[in-house]
């Protein structure tokens, strides 16, 4: 195998101030450092959002509790949702993409390094602005989807929703510019020989995800702009007392909102596709199916938004159409589950923490998928909507899907990013505590939902089974909290430990492990010409190379 020299980036990149710590982090344009900034910001917001979740669960631990009043509770559940979706999952997944993708495709930088820094800082400022609302007279309190007319001045008179709109607008602009950057990087900066048919699956997911972001965010941005005009200049878009439309907000929001859940899950699918291969020491089973079903998900995700609006009274024709399309979109996701199981079949499986999270994901995500299919049956949706069944469903897909993916990625790529292995014993403690806590919290909420407990209400009467199920649910939440403390301790302990010798601790297949661990400031001096889907495997096993 011949090594070629990279010539994709010969121009000088702007160099950050290396001698000053703070200035360096503020001014860096290096994709690896920006990736780390994204991940650290996400961890910060994750802790904040997690504390909010624990506050809610503490309030709900017993019946007729008055620890948080209704006002505080409304603000906390809104901030929890907005924080976790827009300022934890999105930046963490995008940050990981920004860090890993150039390394995986054998590039030394993103296509637009300065734009990369701009994207991070504008998104991060959006998060700070959102939290400034607490100091400015009250946080947003109308839920993460912020329905009209509740989002109007005459119903939510605190300035919180203005901060919601401005914070998410900044975050939205940052996401779109990152997505554009990622797409251009993937399409224009791949190493010689890496055709689209040989892209690592994580990169495939990042590519489709980029297009989803570009197409979905503008709808939210338009809705938020109109909302700001409503609130600051008394426009009439969503003000139902003056000719505005509540339904228009729902359409615009969910036209963004449903693709958004795929934006949160596709990068995680990419992570699992890499993790299952490496920890089974086997090629992915059905590469083309994984990639093609992702494209199918991307296209279908724009045709299902009204299944969030079955209770809005759109009529049977519309409801039936969106019910059917929602059942349809389960298929490409189901295909992938079989691909991953097939990848494990007959492989040499290593049950590392990373792999444990991936295997747990298969189970949790299937549960979340099954409860999701139930919602596509319209009469069932009418029964279950706005109950704790929805809360259980969305946490099974968002935690069991995206967050487990992030944890899996954290344990898989931590040696890549820092040159140090996270402690596996602590990792397994973390995994079991978190998974048990997660199922305890949210499995029980299915039953609460079926029994009719409404979501977003700050307390409940002492009805039979309500208190015990809620108490157990709260106990589960605290287990997750303890698990996260163990994780953070693990990270801090590992960062202080001595670096490892081996740059490829997992015997991985893709090019990011060909670079150093951690990579040098210039990722690669030379890169092998890619001749298959597992270039690093080929390099390590020249007598047993892939041909695909």
């Amino acid at each position: 195998m011949k090594a070629i020299l990279l010539d994709s980036i010969e121009r000088d990149l702007p160099v950050a101030h290396r001698d000053r710590t703070l200035l360096r982090w503020l001014s860096t344009v290096d994709h690896k450092e920006i990736g780390k900034l994204y991940l650290m910001a996400a961890l910060l917001f994750f802790v904040v959002g997690g504390v909010e979740a624990l506050l809610m669960r503490t309030q709900l631990a017993v019946a007729n509790n008055h620890l948080l009043g209704p006002d505080a509770y409304n603000q906390i559940f809104t901030m929890h949702g907005v924080t976790m979706i827009f300022f934890v999952l999105m930046p963490a997944l995008l940050g990981l993409t920004v860090y890993i993708v150039p390394l995986m495709i054998g590039a030394n930088e993103m296509a637009f390094p300065r734009l990369n820094a701009f994207s991070f800082w504008i998104s991060f400022s959006g998060g700070l602005l959102l939290y400034f609302s607490f100091a400015a007279g009250g946080a947003p309190n109308a839920g993460w989807f912020n329905y009209a007319p509740l989002n109007q001045e005459n119903y939510s008179s605190s300035p919180g929703i203005n901060y919601y709109a401005m914070g998410l607008l900044l975050g939205g602009i940052g996401s779109v510019t990152t997505a554009i950057n990622i797409i251009v990087t993937i399409l224009k900066m791949r190493v010689k020989g890496m055709s689209l048919k040989r892209l690592p699956l994580f990169v495939w997911m990042a590519l489709v995800n980029g297009f989803l972001i570009i197409a979905a965010m503008p709808s939210l941005n338009a809705a938020l702009s109109m909302l700001l005009l409503d609130r600051l200049m008394e426009a009439h878009f969503f003000n139902t007392t003056a000719g505005g439309s509540a339904l228009l907000w729902q359409h615009l929001f969910w036209l963004f909102g449903h693709p958004e859940v795929y934006i949160l899950i596709l990068p995680a699918f990419g992570i699992y596709s890499e993790v299952f291969q490496v920890f089974s020491q086997k090629k992915i089973y059905g590469y083309v199916f994984v990639a093609a079903s992702t494209v199918a998900i991307g296209l279908l995700s724009f045709g299902v938004w009204a299944h969030h609006m079955f209770a809005a009274g759109l009529g049977n024709t519309v409801n039936s159409f969106f019910g059917a399309s929602s059942m349809l979109i389960g298929i490409p996701t189901g295909i992938k589950i079989f691909n991953w199981i097939g990848t494990m079949y007959g492989g040499r499986i290593r049950l590392t923490t990373s792999m444990l999270f991936a295997i747990a994901f298969l189970i949790e995500f299937t549960i979340g998928g099954l409860s999701g299919i139930e919602f596509s049956i319209v009469p069932l949706d009418w029964q279950l909507t706005d109950s704790y069944f929805v809360v259980a469903h969305l946490h099974y897909v968002l935690l069991g899907g995206s967050l487990f993916g992030l944890f899996s990625a954290l344990f898989y790529w931590f040696p890549k990013i820092t040159g140090r292995m996270l402690n596996e014993t602590l990792g397994k403690w973390f995994f079991w505590l978190f998974t048990v806590g997660f199922n305890l919290t949210f499995l029980l909420q299915h039953f609460l939902g079926l029994m009719g407990m409404p979501r977003r209400v700050y307390t409940y009467q002492d009805i039979p089974y309500y208190t015990i199920l809620n108490l157990l649910s709260t106990a589960g939440a605290y287990l997750m909290g303890i698990a996260v403390i163990i994780l953070i301790y693990n990270i801090f302990k590992t960062i202080k430990a001595a670096p490892m010798e081996n740059k490829d601790p997992w015997n991985a297949f893709t090019l990011e492990w060909y670079a150093g661990s951690p990579p040098n400031e210039k990722n690669f001096i030379d890169v092998p010409v890619v001749t298959s889907r597992r270039p690093f495997w080929d390099l390590k096993n020249p007598e047993n190379r892939d041909y695909d």
Partner: protein, 182 residues
């Protein structure tokens, strides 16, 4: 690379404007837009400014052409013409807004006001951003930069500027022409 980036950007922007146009049409009937347009908007005046904006696409295309031929004096001349046409369009929009405000058509008056100002305002904002970029390109050209035929700067900016014009065709059709057809 630059051109691909700009194409993706305008793809995203196109969906943004699509949402605003859909919103405009959504309120069309309930807000009596047909009557409002007939009472307050003047298709002939705005049509004239529309033609001027479309001319700016032509002048920019001439600038690009001369850039390819490395005729930089003409590049400057066509760029200045483009900027002037853009400024005239914005001035026209400002004049229209001024008259509407005098007639008490405000963003908080009714659904028509809200939608009209949001749609045309966001378009105007895009013209303004385009003008800022064009002025930067002009200053660079005046100072001897972008003298390389292979530089993609002009053609990248061009994608954006032509996009702003195309969006206006849709906006103009929706707001000014549609009431006459329906």
């Amino acid at each position: 690379m630059n051109r691909l980036m700009m194409k993706l950007t305008i793809g995203s922007e196109a969906i943004f404007f699509l949402c605003l146009i859909v919103s405009y049409l959504y309120f069309w009937r309930s807000g009596n837009f047909q009557k409002e347009v007939a009472a307050h908007l003047h298709i002939k005046t705005t049509g004239l400014f529309t033609i001027l904006l479309l001319c700016s696409s032509f002048t920019f295309w001439k600038a690009e052409q001369n850039h390819q031929r490395e005729n930089f004096t003409r590049v400057k001349a066509w760029l200045i013409a483009t900027i002037l046409l853009g400024v005239i369009f914005l001035a026209g929009q400002g004049h229209e807004y001024y008259n509407l405000i005098k007639e008490n058509v405000l963003i908080n008056k009714n659904e028509f006001g809200s939608n009209f100002y949001a749609l045309t305002g966001f378009h105007g904002l895009h013209v303004l951003i385009g003008l800022v970029v064009l002025i930067i390109v002009l200053l660079l050209t005046l100072n001897g930069f972008l003298r390389n035929k292979s530089s993609s700067v002009l053609s990248t900016v061009g994608i954006y500027w032509h996009f702003v014009d195309v969006v206006w065709i849709f906006v103009f059709t929706t707001i000014y022409v549609l009431p006459y057809i329906l």
